[in-house]
Each structure stands twice: as C-alpha cells, then as structure tokens.
Subunit: 410 residues, 2 copies
C-alpha cells in the first residue's frame, strides 16, 4: 500500500485544518501506513521539510483540537511552480517526483485556493507526461469563496459567520451615543465580494443591518459614495458600511491606492490592499459634519476559530475525505467540489471536477444578486449564504481560552 | 414606594447590559413599581428622554437577551455636569431634580466609569445640599479597568478574554508562512494598560504567547522598540506585539501623534488615539527586512458579546443588584466595588466606597507587575487577571447568529 502526503497552501482559513484532519483520517483508514504532511506546502517540501503526521496527531483529542485550531497546522506557502515547459522547470518537477518516490507516495493532496490548484494542475500534468502513477487531488479552501466549479468553498462559511456576527455587534456599538456616526468596515476579498456580501447576514428582526455594501464587482465612485452616505444620514444617525478591500475605481485603480501608503506586491503579483476604509472614513469626515470610524477586520476574519460554522467545519472535513476516496479510486488532476442538492432543507454533497477548469480562475458575485443602486444584497444571496453559517462547534476551553494544537517554530 | 431610574454612560462594554438587568430585576423585586431607563444617560434625561423599562423588558427571555447584547441598551453619553458652583449650574441641577420628582424617583443608578462617577458625585452632593432624599449610587463598568477602590471593573474580564483569545488566533495565523513577519496589535486603554496587559494571557502550553507588551505606563522609545524587535527576530521569525493605543514618548506626546493623521478631541478633552500600531509597523518595515502588519482591535474589544466571560457577566449583574440593595438601605453618594476575597479558589464580593474617592481618578497597572526590560507581564498579573476570564455564557444563536435585544433608533 502506497503512502499519502498532504500540504496546505495559500492564505489560511479557520477550518483548513479540518480538511487536513479529513485527509489524514481517511488515508489512514484506507490503509496508508504513513500519511506525511509537507511543512509550508510544496515550497517546504522542495527543501525536504515534511513530517509523519502520526508523530504529531497522536489520538482522537488531537484531531478534535486540530479541527478547532486556526491557521495552517502544517504551515503554508505562496509558491508558484514554474510552467512545465519553462527553462529549468524539469529540475524542479523531477526533484519533487524523486522525493515523492523516496517516501513511496501514491496519493498527493493539496489544500488550497485557485493559486494552489495551479500546483495540482501542473503536478498532475507532469505526472501524466512522465507516466507516474501518483494521484494528485486538490482540496478546496478559501475564505474568499472565489473558486469555480464548487457551490462554495470550505472556509467561506466560517468567515461569513464571523462577519455576520461582528457586523451585528459593530452596528449595536455604533448607535450607543445616538450621535451622527459613520462606521466603515473593511473586509477581505481582492476581486470577489463574497465576504463583503456576508455583511448582509447581520440584518434580522433584532438588527437593522448594514446601510451599504460595496463589492469589488461594482465600479466605485468616491463622490457618489459620499453623496449616498450624506443622504442616508439624513434619516438615520449611525450609518454602518461594509466595504471590500478590493473596491476599484472605473479606471481600474484600487480605491486604497488613493491613500498615500506604500503598497507591496507579492510573488503572484497581488498588490497588498489595505487602507480602503481609512481613506473613505477620512474622505467622509472631510465632506460631512459627522464622526467617522474605520475598522479593518484584518486577519481575524480568517483565523477566528473561536467562532466557526459547524456546517463549514463538517464540509471541510468531508472534502478532505472525498479527496482521499477519489485518489484511492484512481482519479488524478481533479478537485473535490461541493454540490448543493437543495436549500431547504440544506443538503450538500461532493463531486469531482477536472482541475484545469478551476486553477487560476475566479468566481465573482453575480451582479443580479445586488440591488439596483448597488447598496444591498438581494434575497438570492441570503438564500445562498445563510445555510453555510448554521450551527457552531464549541471550542474546547481550558482556563478560559480555546485550546489549540501546534508545532513550535524550530 | 418610590420608583427607580437607571442610566448608562461612557463607552460601552460587552456586559454593561448585564448590570442594567441586575438593577432592573433588583429594584423590581424590592417593590419599585416603575423602573425607568434614561435614554443616552443624563444628557438624554435632561431632554426628558426616558422609558419605563417594563415596556421593553417583557419577560425572562428579554432579560437573558439583554445580558448577551453588546453596546448600552439605553444608549450612552459623554456629558459632564457643570461644577455645582459654576454659573448657570443650579438651573441644570434643579431641572434634573424636578424631573426626578415628577417621576417619583427615590433611587438613581448610573452605570459608568470614572467620568460617569463624577456625575453621581455631583448629583449626590447637590441632593445633600438641597435636602433631597433621593439616593444616588454608582455602578462600575469599563473595559479599561482603571477605576480605583474596586479590585476590577465589570467589563474588563470579557474584554481581557476577547484579547487573550484573538491574540492566540493572531499568533497562530502569523506563523503560517514561516517567514519573517512582525505583527503589531493595537489595544484600547488611554492611560492604563490593563487591556494591553491581557495579551499576556495568550501564553500557555499550546501557544508561545506574545513577544512584547507595550503599556502606556512605561515611557516609549521608538528606536529602542525597533532594536528590541530586531533582536527578537534573530531567534524567531514571527514576532507578535501588543501595544496600547496610549503609549507615550518620554516627552509626553502620544506615539500616534508621530503619524500624520488628524486627531480630534472629545468633550472631556481626550484626544482620539488611533494609528499607533500603523505608525510602528511602518517604522519597523522601513528599518528592517521583514513583512509587517498592524491590527487594530478597535471597538470589537468592547462589543464582542459573542465571547464574554461568564465570571464577568455574573459580577456585572451582581454589582447592579448590590447598588439597588445599598440605595434601598439608605446609602447615597457611593459606588459599588468588587472586593476579591481569595484567588484560589477565586471568590469575590461587593462593598461600598464613597464616590468622591473614585470619580475622575485612574488606576494604573503597577510597574512591579512588568518585567525588567518592559516586554512582558509577571506572574502577579496573570494571577490577578486569569480568574476574571473564566467560563463562558453561550450566546442564544438564531439562524446562525447570536440574538440581541434592541430599541430601534427613532
């Protein structure tokens, strides 16, 4: 029986370790003697950094803690494999293949988003080219929910729940003095507004909801924005706005580029986006007689493991198990996707998609789900997102704090 | 039997409504026919804005929701009564007294921090001067924990728990890429570092803890700070630092004043402090070869009702009840304080203190509780703070989100 190896890649989610648990337990139960974990994804693996997972996951309590631990337990990377035909690429791929052979690997799992699926795509293609019998399967994760082919991505439900919960709390807090007040909350999501849209979940019989939602899918106009805020505040003193870090002007520049901070660019060419809410809050404060505040949810939306969706945790675990099943049944170059069967009652199953249909693509929020003046989500979005935030997984509190499992930095 | 009235003042906490519940239920059970709530504290009361609480708190489920609802249910204010001897002051005080007489008030409760206790102090003094038999009692609250006379303040335990929990999550998240990374987390607390110190609670067998804690009690030197970070990063790639929004240079200027943002001043002359972490993260990024990130916990640390300390909720309720008991037994011009009887097991009771000993004073973190190089809290602080974050009060989740109770803005 061949061994299995699993890696985590890209930005973490609150539930990415639940997928790791799913892969680990399924591969063990199907007979892999060793289930290895790559440290810091394919990048660390190239440096021969990996562990035998059974040396760190020793019992069922460790598995329970793993499901409740934020960040990527194995560490992550943002490493893009070279194109197979690129100069020097063969050396990289051959090195990976020989390391895999050395560990007697038959099954390779990579938990990640669209950039990470690119890794699976290339490895599967290279494996095919050289006639390797190793199966490469992608396990989806991303808080951004921007993967195609899957109804939603594990990680999104928990981030959406976190956003719904804290927006309710921020909305309550912002009314406290009964004074004119504009709160602008900055939410992650570079090009897809799924997370920002989740702010719409705050509205219910016990909460007036957010007053405006600004998605990156809709071109942003600063003057029109200020006018909308001014008009809203004529009828309501406390205005709370959810804005994506990635909102762009009609000319394609990010709004945060209007602020004067320096912006870095990462290995995938992504600009570091931050300061959108601060810029808009300052702009509103200058234009209107109101107090303003900007709040960046920052990394908390992807690491608030104390507040996850049990639906999400369960599905994250399931896609891990389904990936193992697929690999053991001979599939390769595919990603496990979630397929929604029905909304009421919510039912969801898994299916497989060729990874070439998924890698490097982004799924945006359909504009038909946004109202006419681009300030609110329609019921279609609520119907889509609400099932994903249902139920909770209670943290294991020790001495007042949720307990985690981790590998100390060497 | 005389009626009671209660107001909430100053910044909210996650548990300030639990004190409101405590006052309401105790006054009702002691026979007050009407328990009124001032809308937006004494400021709203001067505009004759108040409600009969029984019209909005209709059953025991409403009380349970009230305990779980963030922000001040009645609304708050930052209104300072004029000095009794000031010109025109008599008119303000006589107006308050006549409104209280009109409602047949015998008991007046004000839930707040040191600024709010100033209100109780003045009203009690004025009441004594004119021979009023209304009893004025203060109910402590503040996330800042800076009230004297009381072992700690209701609201602190939940904010400290929130900070401990999210610091653990941020620490995990920040190690994810295994790369050089400095995360600077900005925590509330203008002059007292109790909340920032709570970051020390993150350290446990499952968490390496924060690498540095910067309290406002310790003069801050930017160059020394950068040097410390540089040295720390020689041994550990991911450095997480908790810094108070109120850290000051030796010359008394706030560190955030070194950034170029505009800073407003509120009615009490407090500067709006923000941008400390951003300034420090930018400074470190310029000085060193490392990625940096700043995270402002912002209002979430005072409104994260989904994550409260049950110890805190219970004590917040108790001080409300103890205030009613004191007033009905004839006390006035006093504040209920928490008195710790023992640490192991943790036991705490209430006592009364003359409010003149409390109003406008600030309790700082003892410097003996900080280590020699001013980077970590000593065990004395942990022993003090750990009992205050114990146990949880489960939110009442409806459709995936914690349910609240609120009065819609008119």
């Amino acid at each position: 029986m061949k061994n299995a190896i699993v890696g985590q890649s890209g930005g973490p989610t609150s539930v990415i370790n639940s997928s790791l648990a799913g892969v680990y337990e399924a591969a063990k139960s199907r007979g892999s003697e060793h289930v290895y974990g790559m440290c810091n994804g394919i990048q660390g693996f190239l440096e021969e950094r990996y562990i035998d997972l059974s040396t760190v996951l020793k019992n069922s309590m460790d598995i329970e803690l793993l499901k409740r631990t934020p960040s990527s337990f194995l560490g992550s990377c943002r490493y893009k494999l070279p194109a197979i035909e690129a100069e020097g690429a063969k050396e990289v791929y051959d090195r990976i293949m020989s390391l895999l052979d050395k560990l007697n690997i038959g099954y390779f799992f990579y938990i990640g988003g669209n950039d990470s699926m690119d890794t699976i795509n290339k490895l599967a293609a290279y494996g095919k080219e050289i006639g390797s019998d190793i199966r490469f399967i992608g396990v989806p994760k991303t808080i951004d929910n921007d993967l195609t082919a899957t109804d939603h991505t594990p990680g999104y439900g928990s981030a959406a729940k976190y956003i719904g919960v804290v927006m309710k709390e921020i909305i309550r807090d912002a009314t406290v003095y009964g004074t004119k007040y504009v709160t602008i909350v900055e939410i992650m999501g570079r090009n897809a507004g799924w997370l920002t849209a989740a702010a719409a979940l705050a509205k219910d019989e016990d909460c007036e909801g957010v007053d405006m939602i600004c998605l990156p899918e809709v071109p942003f106009n600063v003057d029109r924005f200020v006018e909308k805020v001014r008009k809203m505040q004529e009828n309501k003193k406390s205005i709370v706005i959810a804005v994506s870090e990635g909102v762009k002007l009609e000319d394609g520049r990010y709004v945060c580029e209007l602020a004067d901070d320096v912006h870095a660019v990462d290995a995938f060419g992504h600009k570091s986006l931050t300061g959108t809410a601060r810029f808009l809050a300052n702009t509103v404060a200058r234009a209107m007689d109101t107090k303003t505040r900007c709040i960046e949810l920052s990394t908390l939306q992807r690491c608030a493991a104390h507040l996850t969706s049990r639906t999400d945790i369960t599905e994250a675990y399931q896609v891990g198990g389904a990936a193992v099943k697929a690999a053991f049944e001979g599939h390769t170059g595919e990603m496990v996707a979630l397929k929604r069967i029905s909304n009421a009652p919510y039912q969801c199953t898994t299916e497989l998609h060729p990874i070439s249909e998924i890698a490097n693509l982004e799924k945006k929020v359909p504009l038909e789900w946004v109202n006419e003046d681009h300030t609110q989500m329609k019921q279609e979005f609520i119907d889509y997102a609400l099932p994903l935030i249902q139920a909770e997984l209670t943290p294991i509190y020790i001495s007042g704090l949720p307990h985690h499992i981790y590998m100390p930095e060497n």
